[in-house]
Amino acid sequence: MSTARRKPPRVGDNPLFRRLLIGIVLLLGALLILAPLIVIGVEAFRQGWKVYVATLANADTQHAIMLTVITALIAVPLNTIFGVAAAWAMTKFDFRGKRLLLIVTEIPFSVSPIVAGVAYLFVYGLQGIFGPMLDAYDVKILFALPGIVLASMFVTAPFVARELIPLMQAQGRDLEEAATSLGASGWRTFFSVTLPNVKWAMLYGVVLCNARVMGEFGAVSIVSGNIRGQTNTLPLHIELLYHDYQAAGAFASASILAVIAVFTIIAKVALEGRGAGRRVKPATILVTPETRP
């Protein structure tokens, strides 16, 4: 007891209030967050190991897994390139319309994935702008891999950019100017000065982007056409099994995505330990014009 340091109580440090609040939050958290995760595992193994393994070994499931992985392998790198380019353009230069560009970049966050899916239909579908032309040349975008990738890129467009922009804005341009004044080329400056200082934030964006791409349901369900064994990604496959009254199969497939989700969270926490994901206050972003005295 002698080593215990007493601190004056802060607001909300009343022991009764404190215990009550922690109790409520833990209970609700367990019910609303933890229980859904646990029930996936329980339901997946309800009919035993054999059914679980059999479901995952099923050709359609395998194909859905493959398609999901391929989609992520295409969409995530493209999105990362975009995020880096957008962050470089918007933080290292001043130009008219920068704020507007930032807002447009963030639009996919507020748009329903269903709306996104429908919107793509009206670009590449037969009733859309380019649909008839694409059909004439026999180019398949909708109900095929390109459509799935495009829809995934829409819903995740801001993921990498929004991690990089506040960070690179806060870091300013001094380091890049210093490297340039020492004779470094643009690529050199980017790879040896800019990137090492934003790599964790970038990776953070990549991890979140990947999770969203692999799990996207609404937008992809419209553009993919839900063709079993062909254009079913894993989330769509889960829906199919569920509505086929194959609950165990649906939960077995869901368990894969749940495991990915848990790994995503672990990666996220690890990256936060390296300083990624800290939000810079919104007021400081992009409102400082670079006028020097």
Binding site: V11, G12, D13, R18, L21, I22, L26, L28, L32, I33, P36, L37, E43, I81, A85, A89, M90, K92, F93, F95, I107, P108, F109, S110, V111, S112, P113, I114, V115, V118, A119, L121, F122, V123, Q127, I129, F154, A157, T180, S185, G186, L208, A211, G215, F217, P235, L236, I238, E239, Y242, A247, F251, A254, A258, A261, V262, I265, R279, K281, P282
Partner: protein, 273 residues
């Protein structure tokens, strides 16, 4: 034309504009174009049909209820995670992101399993006469789950960075805990709370995957707007799908505008000069 000292503006801005144009602007423009190619009368008939209006109603009300619940629960979670130290805190902190990381379809089937009449929670609740799955309540619960992290994650950093001296000053002036919370802490959290609330509400309005499994999807009662769009598409009624989707899209834009305006207002004391 002002020349730039650092290289790469053309390349990086070119990539950015191309990507944003192709991936974001083109499809949304196509949707608006399609919706606006309907005559006004036709458009109005579709978007104001009883079934559409019923879907707006259930979507908006469930989203509102879910957001209000998350406003309190999210604030409490953020408060507990930043102010108190207790075993398991870090795990809870990490788990808050589960709704973001877990695919919505997975969340949908697992919430349905929990809340259906023979599920863990559903069986208990049905004993006391509460039905969750296949009712608007189920829609609300799905929305609560998917939008929970927004408020926690916007409030948490502000709460962490809150200068203890402000509270100490208020304490030294004799304020009670509740008074200090109400008059000092809450106003400082307001911009973040507002941002989180509007993000949470917007997300709930557009949510699809987590809801359709638990909602029951009965027209006029438990059919959300996003699902109605989907159904119109399956009926090959593209015009109706475009019209109703445009309603959701315009709502999203309006939310975006309101959020920006509210935030600018709430943050006006941070503006210099």
């Amino acid at each position: 034309m002002r020349r730039n000292v650092l290289p790469g503006l053309n390349l990086s801005l070119g990539i950015t504009l191309f990507y944003v144009g192709l991936i974001v602007v083109l499809p949304l423009a196509a949707l608006i174009f399609k919706a606006s190619s309907l005559g006004f009368a036709e458009y109005w008939t579709i978007v104001s049909s009883p079934r559409s209006v019923a879907s707006y109603r259930v979507t908006a009300l469930a989203a509102l209820a879910a957001t209000i619940f998350n406003l309190f629960f999210g604030l409490a979670l953020a408060w507990v995670l930043t102010r108190y130290r207790f075993p398991g805190r870090r795990i809870i902190d990490a788990m808050v992101d589960l709704p973001f990381a877990l695919p919505t379809a997975v969340a949908g089937i697992s919430l349905t399993a929990l809340f259906s009449a023979n599920g863990w929670f559903g069986s208990v609740l049905s004993d006391i006469g509460i039905k969750v799955a296949y009712t608007p309540l189920g829609i609300m619960i799905a929305m609560c789950f998917t939008s929970l992290p927004f408020i926690v994650r916007t409030v948490q950093p502000v709460l962490e960075d809150l200068d203890p001296a402000l509270e100490e000053a208020a304490q030294s002036l004799g304020g009670s805990d509740w008074t200090i919370f109400r008059t000092v802490i809450l106003p400082l959290l307001a911009p973040a709370l507002l941002a989180g609330t509007s993000l949470s509400f917007a997300r709930s309005l557009g949510e699809f995957g987590a809801i359709i499994f638990i909602a029951g999807n009965q027209p006029m009662s438990t059919e959300i707007t996003a699902l109605l769009i989907f159904i119109r598409l399956e009926e090959y009624d593209y015009q109706a799908a475009a019209a109703i989707a445009s309603v959701l899209l315009l709502t999203a834009f309006a939310m975006l505008a309101v959020t920006n305006w509210l935030q600018a207002r709430a943050l006006r004391y941070t503006v210099k000069g």
